[in-house]
Amino acid sequence: MAEPLTVALPKGRLIEDALGFLARAGYAVPANGDGGRKLVLDGADGRLRYIMVKPADVPVFVEYGAADVGIAGLDVIREAERDVYEPLLLPFGRCRLVVAGRGDRPDLPLRLERSPRVATKFPRLTEAFFRKRGVAAELIVMAGSVELAPLVGLADLIVDLVQTGVTLRENGLVELRTILESQAMLIANRASYRLRAGVVRELIDGLAGVVRGT
C-alpha cells in the first residue's frame, strides 16, 4: 500500500466539521478526533494520516510539505500568505474578519483617521487594509482578548473575527467594516499536488461531492 496522504487539521472550532466532511467523503477518520492527546493519527483504512496542529500553523505545515494537504480557515490562510494551492472551499467555519470600534466613537470615515491604534491577531491583513486606504495605522499585535483593547484605552479600533457579533455587542463595540468573509478551505502542497496528483485529486473530488450534497 502506498504511503497515506498526510492531512493537517486545525485543532479547535473547525475540527468536528472537517472530520465530518472527510468521513462523508469515505475516509476513515480517528474516532475521538480532537479529544485525544495524540498529535499524529492514522486513518484505519490507511489512506489518510492526520496531524493535529494549531489553526495558524496549518498553512506552514502544508507549504513546507510536512503535510500534503490541510484544512484551515480562509482568515488564517490569507494572514499566513503561504505559497499553497487552494483547490476547494468548504461550507463551514463561516465568520467575518471585521474592523470594530467603540459604540460611542465619533461618526468618522476610517480613511480620515489620523493614525489609529489597532489591536489585532491578524497584523498582515490589518496592515494591508489600512495601507490600501492611505491610513498609517499603528498595529498592536495581541494573542487574545482583542475586544478588551478599546475598552481600556489600549487601542482605538480592533480587527477581529466575528461569528454572531454577540461578543462585540456585549463589550459595547460596533462593526465598522468587513475585511474578509471567511470559511474553511482545503489547501494543498505544490509538490504533492503534482507528485501525488491521483490521490490528491481523489480527495478534492470526494470532498467536492460532499459539498455539493450539503
Binding site: 510539505g65 487552494e86 509538490a191 499536488y193 507528485l195 501525488r196
Partner: protein, 425 residues
Amino acid sequence: MSDRTLSADRPLPEGVRDLLFADAAAFRAMTAALQATWLGWGYREISLPTFEYADTLATDVGAAVDAEMYRFFDRHGRTLALRPDMTIPTARVVGTRLYDQPMPLRLAYVGSVFRYEPPRAGRQHEFTQAGVELIGAAGALADAESVALAVGALQAVGLPDFRITVGHVGFFRGLLAALNLPERTTARLRVAVDRKAEAELAQLLGEILGLPPLARNAVLTLPRLMGDARVLAEAEAICLNTTMMQALSDLAAVAGLLVAHGVAERVAYDLSEVRDLDYYTGITFEGFAPGLGFNLVSGGRYDELIGHFGPPLAAVGWALTLDRVLLARELQGISHEEPRCDVLLSARDCPACLRWAAQARARGLRVELDPLGLAPDALWQAAQARGIPRAAHHTDPQTLTVRDAAGARAIAAEDWQEVAAWLNR
C-alpha cells in the same frame, strides 16, 4: 576554556548562512556533477559579476523580483544591485557582447544570487543557483533539450525522486484573449488559476454575465489539465482559439522529443501553470521533489529578454537552486559523506615523515600531519576523533608503525606495495 557564549556577540545578518564541511563538500560535488552534465551537452561556462547597475538588473524582471533586490550606492552615487538571478546578467552579456557569435550559444553558470524574500525552505537571502541558457534557437528541439538537460541535471546531483512539470504560457494567454474580460476580472482569474482555486473560479464565472458555455467550461476544466502527455490531447477539447491550439501543438512536439530523449517518465504536463506569465514567451517548467513544497528548478522560453540589451534572440533555459536540492536529497535519505584523510601521520621532529607524506600524496593518498607530537596511543585517538581510519608514525626513517582498527604493526615505509596493501585492507 571560558564557557562564555561567543555566538551572541557576533550574529549573522538575516538570510545568510555558513556551509560547513559535509554541506560544503556536497555543494562542491553537486557543482562538479552539474558541470560534467552540461559539458556533455556542449554548454560553456561563464562567470558573471555579483553586482551591476540596478537599472540593468531590473530589466523586465517584474515587480516582485524588483522589490526583492539588494540595492546600494557606489562612490559616485549611482545605484548598484546584487544580482537577483543569473538570467538577466547572462542576457546582458549576450545582448551586448556575444550577439554576433555563431548561434546557437550554449551557456552555463553557477553562483550566488541575492533576494530580500521571506526565508523559505532551502532558500535564504543569499542562495546558490546553477543554470543553463540555450540562445539563438527557437522551436521544439531547443525546448526539449532544455527540459531533458534539467532532468539530467537533477539525476546527476543524485536526487532519486523528482518530477518536472511542463506548461506553456500561450495556453492561458490564449484563454484570456478569448474571454476578453475587464482587466480587474482578468487579474482575479489569474490569481485563482495560480492557486488552483476551483471553487473561486466557479464563483468568479458566476459573476461574469454573458460568457459562452464553451468558455465557461474551458475555465473550469483548466485546473484539471495536469498529468502525463495525454492531457495535451484532452486539452484540445477546450481550445477556444489558435493561440491555445498553437501552445498545445508546441507542447505535443516537445513531449514527443522528450520520449526520444528517454526522460518522458520524469515529465508531467500542467496547462494551468500561470507563473511568470509576463516574462516567459513559450514553454515553462518547474521541477519538484516529494516533501518539498518549493520548486528545485524553474525555467522556460523567454524570447523577448535579450532584445532589451541588443538584437533580439530566442532563448530557453533554467536555473536550479542548489540549497533546495540539498534539502530534497536529505528528505529522500541521501546523505553526503565529507571526504576524509586516509592517514594521520605524526610529524614532529621528523623530516623523514614530511618526505614520506610528500611521496604518499603524489600517489594520491590523503595524509594529515600531526604537528603536536602526540604519543602513539594519543595519535590513534586523535585520528579516530577526526574520522581518519589510520594513524602512523616513523619508528626510524625506514620503518613506519601503522595503526588501524585491526591493531598496530610495523611496515617498511618506502615499500609502496606494502603501504597500498595496508591501506586497502
